[in-house]
């Protein structure tokens, strides 16, 4: 029974990674950049919810809505100010370093406003636990909510990208930006939309992450951000189902590594699995193999 218990913990953690990884992978697929500041948007989202509930006394639903809107706007603003001017820069590294700068900026703004000490997160999602097999297996409410939310997001996002007009514009931009522009796709608006969706998802990820692990510091987003990046690469960066599968696998491996091997080397195990996968399949599990032409 402990195996199933670990499995559900792994899937729950993995679902959070998956939601963060979706943001990474969409931005990468469309803007061809690694948005290192993505993890910090999660932290911002969580702080907005915490402030809205404890300081402004808003109901949880309103707080979540404000947080999603705030992060969406933040994503658009970051893209517009920091990334767009560098889109045509001669080196891809330039925008990567700028993203790192944005990451430092968000962390240090949060540090100035909220201080360095860890805040305990409020209970936002109040769902009763479910007890199975005569009490042998207890599934926490937040675990169920996390998994359900991530499945809904995944389905909705797949539908959006495949069936709607802006979604297909995203596909076109990720395939060939110049050709998409010639076909009348507004590339700037599409990239803004991608950042908006990715950052909105980050706000939801922030809520779920801090509900499952209720401490919040300005650095809360950094490590999950890196792990989600790993998950996105693991599943094949640029692929939506890949991010989902990669995220869940990563969460399960991490929890199993902690439970059965050693909690100190769990991260090392996660990264080692990533390296093995990439060596066998260099574009990740669901990645497209692009033939190089001269």
């Amino acid at each position: 029974m402990s195996f199933i218990s670990y499995l559900k913990d792994g899937i729950s953690l993995g679902s959070i990674y998956a939601i963060i990884a979706l943001g990474y992978t969409m931005v990468y697929g469309i803007a061809k950049m690694l948005n290192f500041a993505h993890g910090d948007v999660i932290m911002v989202g969580a702080f907005v919810i915490l402030t809205a509930i404890t300081k402004a006394g808003l109901p949880p639903a309103a707080a979540i809505l404000i947080s999603v809107v705030f992060c969406t706007v933040l994503g658009i603003v970051i893209e517009k100010i920091a990334y767009r001017p560098l889109r045509k820069a001669s080196s891809n590294l330039a925008v990567l370093i700028t993203a790192i700068g944005v990451s430092y900026l968000l962390q240090n703004l949060a540090l100035l406003i909220f201080g360095a000490d860890a805040k305990s997160f409020v209970t936002v999602i109040d769902v009763p636990s479910v007890s199975l097999f005569g009490g042998q297996l207890v599934i926490k409410g937040i675990t169920i909510v996390t998994i359900v939310v991530s499945v809904i997001i995944m389905v909705a996002l797949t539908f959006f990208v495949q069936k709607t007009k802006p979604g297909r514009a995203m596909q076109a931009v990720s395939e060939d930006r110049d050709a998409a522009q010639l076909m009348g796709v507004n590339v700037n608006a599409t990239i803004s939309l991608t950042f908006a969706i990715g950052s909105g998802l980050a706000a939801i990820a922030g809520l779920l992450l801090c509900s499952a692990y209720p401490t919040l510091t300005p650095y809360t987003g950094a490590m999950p951000g890196i792990k989600a990046f790993v998950a996105a690469v693991f599943g094949g960066i640029g692929s939506i189902p890949g991010a989902m599968v990669g995220g869940i696998l990563l969460g399960v491996i991490e929890i199993f590594g902690k439970a059965y091997i050693s909690s100190q080397v769990a991260d090392a195990i996660v990264f080692a699995v990533l390296i093995i996968v990439l060596l066998v399949k260099p574009t990740g599990l669901f990645g497209k193999n692009i033939q190089e032409k001269v």
């Binding site: 990468y28 690694l34 290192f36 920091a82 001017p85 560098l86 045509k88 820069a89 001669s90 080196s91 590294l93 330039a94 990567l96 370093i97 700028t98 790192i100 700068g101 944005v102 430092y104 900026l105 962390q107 240090n108 703004l109 540090l111 100035l112 890196i226 990046f229 790993v230 690469v233 960066i237 050693s262 100190q264 080397v265 991260d267 090392a268 990264f271 080692a272 990533l274 390296i275 990439l278 060596l279 260099p282 574009t283 990740g284 190089e292 001269v294």
Partner: protein, 357 residues
Amino acid sequence: MKTKMNKTTKNNFVTYGIVILLFVIVQTLSATGNLSRLLTGLLVPLCVYTIAAVSLNLVVGFSGELSLGHAGFMCVGAYSSALFSHMTADALPSVPRFILAILVGAVVAGIFGILIGIPVLRLRGDYLAIVTLAFGEIIKNLINILYVGVDANGIHVATTSAGFKLAAGGKKIMKGALGISGTSALYKDIKGQFFLIGVILVLLTLFIVQNLVNSRSGRAIMSTRDNRIAAESVGINVTKYKLLAFTVSAALAGVAGVLYAHNLSMLKVSVFDYNMSILILVYVVLGGIGNLRGSMIAAIILYALPELLRGFANYRMLIYAIVLIVMMLFNWAPAARNWRSRMVEKFKGGKMKKEAA
């Protein structure tokens, strides 16, 4: 051809000249008592980060691969050399011991560079970046649980604190997450000269990298960066040259690690995280990819900047972040570049027109 060679050599000597000039200025300031304690404490770390940035530039700038695991190699160099120093503390006098420690750090980091490079260099672009990041984290994780000590029976290695038992009179050197303590105390007699040693190592690093880059192998390395397929088609062994650049870079990062470890009384593995790798990458990119002098200058300015901003307390990292973003936009955005070249033309207007005519 001949004049071109001379230009390169001249360029190299200008770089050495800058290092020596800075050293002389700092020594003069220090001798006349104009150097604050804070700045004195910064000198050796400045050398460490300069070496790290110059060596990373070899991979990022000249072989064109993005590596996010440079701190991992520094970590390997730091720990292997610190272990060596502790083990031979009674056997050797400090000067040859330190020279050997540098060699140990460089060789061990270089071996790790080869071991990691062989599988990793098969990957491209961002995948390579994430795998190097992963290797850095794995190295950090493993050293974090490693316990090493010596006693009368030889060397003992354990992975848990409980399983780490030594005979009476044994010496615990590596203590897991607590790291290695008291390394700098082993070098009391030459501790004051660490800045001089650091500057010599910076010069040595520049010498190695500049000569490599301007050699036949260096041109091969750059050709793999510019066009991998074209390089392969003219018979250049791409994997070999990429591995060469990666290994030399790892070994030099190991040297930076040695200097770092021996300058500290307390060496902890937690400092060698991906933030450190990213910090070094920031120096490389901001200084100019493929520009060694730029890496050096960026490392000096950007390392000193947050320290010099200490007066602003909590605002210093915020200022650092804003400076970083603004500098990147100003340096790299096509719009800003056009504006800059227009400004330059405006100032040199007459001269440029004459040349054009």
